[in-house]
């Protein structure tokens, strides 16, 4: 028993346990959510948030922080709702250019040794600006196939749960279980030793930022699939949600210690926290504040676990 409850084990279990506790509380408050339809409604919006959190996780993994992610996802949502729908080829090219731009940002931050916060804060202006040009007024429409995918009703298990599991496992095996993934994460842990071992840090940073851009694009597409239209500010709050989700899920800020499964669980927890608070009839004014409290509590809990680990 005591061997099972090592600090490392508890740290891994913490995100899952928080989610389970939250779900139990929601089922208790509103038993009707415990159904196929209820879960579908509860978890629908968790899918784009989970993708955004994965994107942020790639950035966190190389010791950077992306404060423009929300603006970037808004832009990709605008492109999805306009060009991808009207002229799929141009849409795909534009989205590919978005991913390439992220890779270039990674290169710029690495080559000039820049603080990622400042660069991404500046870029958030650029993304919003482009989004305003692409879609000056809210509107557009979701491409049919994305709409179909996001509103799938598979038998037995609601689509959002399947999507979350697929996202988590894909990234988990890609980043945590593959040889390339080890190098990528090692770059966050000890960039010097990765460089000495003959790997190019430039390529690592570009890859990680490109992956972040790619998942940002997916997040924007998933979001439009749910909302069926877009506007230039549609996903601005995703910046904070994605950082919070990554941390809830057990990501550390330095050292390349991240967890894709944890990140997805963290994102779902945050998405559910909103519903939980409204089931509690809590004043909506406190919803943002409650997210802050949850974040601080989880960080405090983790500190408690870690300090037990060092004492043992």
């Amino acid at each position: 028993m005591s061997r099972l409850l090592t600090p490392a084990m508890m740290r891994t279990l913490l995100p899952g346990l928080s989610l389970a506790a939250l779900l139990a509380a929601i089922f208790y408050l509103q038993p009707r959510t415990m159904s196929y339809f209820g879960l579908n409604l509860l978890l629908n919006l968790a899918v784009p948030i989970a993708l955004a959190t994965i994107a942020q996780m790639f950035i966190l993994c190389v010791n950077d922080l992306d404060l423009s992610l929300g603006a970037f996802i808004s832009l990709t949502a605008c492109i999805t709702a306009t060009w991808l729908n009207d002229a799929p080829l141009i849409g795909i090219l534009a989205l590919a250019a978005c991913v390439a731009a992220y890779a270039a940002l990674g290169a710029l931050i690495h080559l000039r040794n820049l603080p990622s916060i400042v660069v991404t804060l500046g870029m958030s202006f650029v993304w919003t600006g482009i989004a305003v040009l692409v879609l000056p007024t809210p509107g557009g429409s979701a491409p049919g196939w994305i709409r179909t995918l996001m509103t799938l009703k598979p038998a037995l298990v609601p689509f959002p749960i399947i999507a979350a599991v697929v996202i988590a496992l894909t990234v988990h095996f890609g980043l945590m279980r593959s040889a390339a993934g080890v190098v990528l994460r090692g770059a966050g842990g000890n960039p010097k030793s990765v460089e000495r071992a003959g790997w190019s840090m430039l390529r690592v940073k570009c890859t990680m930022f490109a992956l972040a851009g790619f998942f940002g694009v997916l997040s924007g597409m998933a979001l439009v699939g749910l909302t069926t239209s877009a506007d230039a500010n549609i996903a601005l709050r995703y910046t904070l949600l994605s950082i919070a989700g990554g941390i809830l899920g057990g990501g550390e800020f330095v050292g390349g210690r991240v967890s894709p499964i944890g990140a997805v669980i963290g994102a779902i927890t945050l998405a559910l926290a909103g519903s939980f608070l409204s089931f509690l009839r809590l004043n909506p004014d406190f919803q943002i504040g409650a997210q802050g409290v949850i974040l601080i509590l989880v960080l405090a809990l983790r500190l408690l676990i870690n300090s037990r680990g060092t004492r043992a």
């Binding site: 922080l65 710029l108 000039r112 040794n113 820049l114 603080p115 916060i117 400042v118 660069v119 804060l121 500046g122 870029m123 958030s124 202006f125 650029v126 993304w127 919003t128 600006g129 482009i130 989004a131 305003v132 040009l133 000056p136 904070l240 950082i243 919070a244 941390i247 800020f253 330095v254 004043n283 004014d285 406190f286 919803q287 943002i288 504040g289 409650a290 997210q291 802050g292 409290v293 974040l295 601080i296 960080l299 405090a300 500190l303």
Partner: protein, 314 residues
């Protein structure tokens, strides 16, 4: 020649050059009288940037990872609580200002306690806590715009010899800050911690105390800025602090303060504040659409950071 090359070595010169060239473009397009007006406006609006950026500059100078992301929420909360308390009554101005200062002191203390106790990077601590402050502001504000007392509004827009009074006050503040930065043990400790935290510790500098005072000062300045800004713009609004998050950081970096910490620059802060305001005015004058304005603003911030980046990271 050597004097010129010495001048171009100064970290603050680029911000001032940028500000001057922006002003020249505006004057060239709209004439000298419009140029005078925009300069006066820049002096007013730039002042608010300088107030918050001064606090942010001290925080950033503490070294990598030190950024205060709770500035917008702090401004909003301080302005909201103070305006609500005063409810337009001029006789309550002093207690109102005290409330605003208390908010600043409380937020600075809470921020630092989170950083110290949870041992998390200041970015994350101030970000998480800012949710709380913003929520409290939303709860107490209820979407209303409470009018400031008239006297506060008058003070915020008053002018002496064509120069806004506020600008003069903040200039004095900047001089005091410059003295503090370069001549007092506190200011020197901040720079020393940013240059090498281990050496600073070994030299007997009280690192945690210095960091606490720095975060405290940043929050108090943001709170006061929110207070005066509410007077300037006719009341406290929930989104009043929004643009100050990026501005506070951008102004510090463009002004020549090292992003890696250890080297602060107050002269550049003024240049960069004027530059940022004049840049936006210039883009308006040229008649660019909102989208292009945002793109150019962002691109210039990233560009300046990229050009000045390598020097400061040494």
């Amino acid at each position: 020649m050597s004097a010129l090359s010495q001048l171009t070595q100064k970290p603050w010169i680029w911000a001032w050059l940028g500000a001057v060239s922006m002003w020249m473009i505006i004057t060239g397009i709209s004439g000298i009288s419009a140029g005078g007006q925009v300069l006066s406006a820049a002096a007013s609006f730039g002042t608010f940037f300088v107030i918050v950026a001064t606090g942010q500059m001290f925080v950033i100078t503490l070294g990598p990872g030190n950024v205060d992301l709770s500035i917008p929420a702090c401004m909003t909360l301080s302005a909201t609580l103070a305006m609500k308390f005063m409810n337009g009554d001029a006789s309550l101005l002093v207690p109102g200002l005290l409330i605003s200062l208390t908010v600043g002191l409380a937020i600075g203390t809470l921020n630092f306690l989170l950083i110290l106790l949870l041992r998390i990077p200041p970015i994350i601590a101030t970000l998480s806590a800012s949710f709380l402050y913003q929520s409290t502001a939303i709860w107490s504000n209820r979407g209303l715009r409470v009018k400031p007392p008239e006297i506060l509004g008058d003070f915020a827009v008053a002018k002496v010899l064509g120069l806004p009074v506020l600008t003069i006050v903040v200039l004095v503040l900047t001089l005091a800050m410059a003295f503090m930065l370069h001549r007092t043990p506190f200011g020197l400790s901040v720079s020393a911690i940013g240059q090498n935290i281990r050496a600073a510790k070994l030299a007997g500098i009280k690192v945690e105390k210095t960091r606490y005072l720095t975060y405290l000062m940043c929050s108090v300045l943001a709170a006061v800025c929110g207070f005066v800004l509410a007077g300037f713009s006719g009341g406290a609004a929930l989104n009043m602090g929004e643009q100050y998050l990026l501005m506070s950081i951008a102004v510090v970096v463009i002004g020549g303060t090292s992003v890696a910490g250890g080297y602060a620059n107050l002269t550049g802060l003024w240049g960069a504040s004027l530059f940022m305001f004049l840049l936006v005015s210039m883009l308006n004058t040229v008649g660019l659409s909102a989208g292009f304005r945002l793109i150019v603003t962002g691109a210039i911030i990233v560009g300046v950071v990229a050009i000045s980046g390598r020097k400061s990271s040494v």
